[in-house]
């Protein structure tokens, strides 16, 4: 089921949480709403679910206008950050709930409901735990039950709100892979909210990066990472270093020193962004040259913090951890790939 969000605005007590947001979600894709807290990503997800009503704008499920439909009528599967499992029901009863509450006309027979619930528990690899209660499961297991419960109603869209947010790093990584597998097998259109860029980059077909109630950029993980369209996206996705520079006839200058980087458009002050690992060390004069302020080894790389132009600016660069330059007190480098945004 494709989902179209059209010019949606949402205010809470006159405080705008979303400004005029539009987003097309293709059928069967796995899309991540990514942003810091307060960016409106969860609000957007809850609007798609029907747990909130938009102040303005429309939401379409396929060709059908779902804006006025209640959450029950939309037939969505929603997975909550804190699982929201029914604590007084067994795992099997939790998964069966969505089918049990259907009106008699569309409710499957008892045996059929049980069979489907068991099948789903099998899918989420929890067979054998049918009779347990949520409190007897680990966090990761609970979230898998929550997913099975959401899938039981054969939802048109699967919506996950920070599904791994309450789990520890190891379990997160496992569940991430596992969710991808489930998605590939069941093919549900899936929207998930996260503030964890690594999770989004690894899991999603497309990213929708949000900030302050607006969509900053939508695209595949690679395109968002390689071609960020705004300073916010550059800073939020992946590591970044930034410097205030001046453009003069295509060349970049930091104060009165040329950077040895050319090919820029425009003239005047601008903000230079580059990735700490996208640099090359050079011995030329026309380069960024800085004094090592600190140097830390992080796994296989060495992250060096440099002070440039006296101590006016600080940038970070990454070197292989055994690179001889890591021993020096002064390092000259040039960004290999970079991007300029208007100053300010």
């Amino acid at each position: 089921m494709e989902v179209r969000v059209q010019n949606v605005r949402k205010e809470f007590d006159r405080f705008p949480a979303l400004h005029d947001v539009s987003l097309d979600i293709a059928s069967g894709e796995l899309i991540a709403l990514l942003g810091p807290s307060g960016s409106g990503k969860t609000t957007l997800l809850r609007l798609i679910a029907g747990l909130e009503r938009p102040t303005a704008g429309k939401i379409f499920f396929g060709a059908e206008d779902a804006s006025e439909k209640s959450v029950q009528e939309r037939n969505i599967g929603f997975v909550f950050q804190h699982y929201a499992l029914f604590r007084h029901m067994t795992i099997l009863e939790n998964v069966s709930f969505g089918l049990e509450v259907r009106p008699r006309a569309t409710r499957p027979a008892k045996a059929e409901i049980r069979r489907r619930a068991r099948e789903l528990l099998d899918l989420v690899q929890l067979s054998g735990l049918e009779k347990r209660y949520p409190s007897q499961l680990s966090g990761g297991q609970r979230q898998r039950v929550a997913l099975a419960r959401a899938l039981a109603i054969e939802p048109r869209v699967l919506l996950l709100d920070e599904p791994f947010g309450a789990l520890d790093a190891q379990v997160r990584r496992e569940l991430r892979k596992w969710l991808r597998e489930i998605h590939d097998r069941t093919g549900h259109t899936t929207v998930f909210v996260t503030h964890d860029q690594e999770e989004a980059l690894e899991l999603a077909d497309r990213l929708c990066v949000m900030s302050q109630g607006k969509i900053e950029q939508v695209g595949t993980p690679d395109s968002v990472y390689d071609h960020p369209q705004s300073p916010f996206v550059f800073g939020f996705i992946g590591e970044s270093s930034t410097l205030p520079v001046t453009v003069e006839r295509g060349d970049l200058w930091l104060g009165d020193r040329p950077l040895g980087v050319s090919g820029a458009e425009g003239n005047g002050p601008a903000q230079l962004y580059f990735r700490p690992h996208d640099i090359e060390l050079v011995e030329a004069d026309a380069a960024l040259s800085g004094v090592v302020a600190s140097s830390r080894r992080v796994g296989g790389t060495r992250r060096v913090e440099l002070e440039l132009g006296g101590s006016a600016h600080r940038v970070e660069i990454d070197l292989p951890f055994d690179h001889p330059a890591g021993e020096r007190s002064q390092i000259s480098f040039r960004p290999k790939r970079w991007k300029l945004f208007p100053a300010g």
């Binding site: 679910a49 959450v71 909550f80 929201a84 499992l85 029914f86 509450v101 259907r102 929550a146």
Partner: protein, 289 residues
């Protein structure tokens, strides 16, 4: 330095010496025995002072019987009404944001902070012969004051915070995640309430009902003001106890009183059992009373 540390006995900083602990426990026990256990024993021993036969006989007197019936009737009306109201109010307060919420919470607590006599007098003012409502209702043959409706109203007023106060913190703590999950799975509002909300609050609710019932049956002050104390008609058990006592029918008074005391003990046992068994689920609520 190290040697002296090893010699000293390692005790937790919050642990008092045994002598202090025992002294404190003793003070507590003596105090309890004097002010709580002794009176309860006195009630029962007075009630049975002239043997089982007199005890049952005095309970079977028409006045005692009618008082018991009236008390049960009042509780049977007041408690369910306050359960319905309490659940509605807690639901509204815990799950929605609206203007005047803090005011409503304060208002719910009002009966706890007002003297029961005042609570009774409010109804005298509202429905008395000098009021607007009283004579108007009377013209339709409806008696409120010095009749059963007045007693029920006063009892509802006095016992009205118990259920709501128990449920509000519980429901606030639970949030609306479970309800949202149920709705997203296609459940109607009604199904969500019966299958998800109610099971989540059932022990807290039972706890509130228990306290509400104990108070409804035991209320004296507010009921005394509105009842008019018409023998065999508008006297509840606590009122009848007082009447028997004033008429020097000690055994009858204490026999009836012993029933109330028994109710209190049963309530206490059930309450403790609930706290023991479902302490975790009740823990969220502030044990204020």
């Amino acid at each position: 330095m190290e040697a002296s540390l090893q010699h000293r006995r390692v005790t937790s900083p919050t642990n008092e010496p045994a002598s202090v602990r025992w002294a404190l426990i003793l003070v507590g026990l003596v105090y309890m025995a004097l002010f709580i256990v002794l009176p309860v024993i006195a009630v029962f021993s007075e009630a049975f002072a002239q043997g089982w036969g007199t005890f049952f006989q005095s309970l079977q007197s028409p006045d005692a019987q009618s008082a018991i019936r009236l008390t049960l009737l009042v509780a049977a009306i007041a408690v369910p009404l306050n359960v319905v109201f309490g659940v509605c109010a807690s639901w509204a307060i815990a799950k929605f944001e609206f203007k005047g919420k803090a005011f409503l919470i304060t208002l719910i607590d009002l009966p706890f902070s007002v003297s029961p006599v005042i609570s009774g007098l409010v109804y005298v003012l509202l429905f008395g012969s000098g009021s607007v409502l009283g004579p108007w209702l009377k013209s339709y043959g409806i008696e409120i004051l010095f009749a059963v409706p007045g007693i029920v109203l006063a009892t509802i007023f006095v016992t009205f915070p118990f259920v709501a106060r128990e449920l509000i913190p519980l429901m606030q703590d639970q949030g609306s995640g479970d309800e949202e999950a149920a709705l997203s799975l296609g459940a109607s509002g009604w199904q969500t309430f019966w299958k998800v909300t109610l099971p989540n609050i059932k022990w807290g609710l039972l706890y509130g009902v228990l306290l509400c019932n104990a108070r409804a049956m035991g209320e004296f002050g507010a009921v005394a003001v509105v009842s008019g104390k018409i023998r065999g008609e508008t006297t509840t058990m606590p009122l009848q106890v007082e009447m028997f006592y004033n008429e020097y029918q000690g055994t009858a008074a204490f026999a009836l009183a012993s029933l109330l005391a028994l109710l209190a003990l049963v309530t206490l046992v059930l309450k403790t059992a609930l706290e023991w068994r479902f302490g975790d689920e009740l823990a969220a609520t502030g044990r204020g009373h």
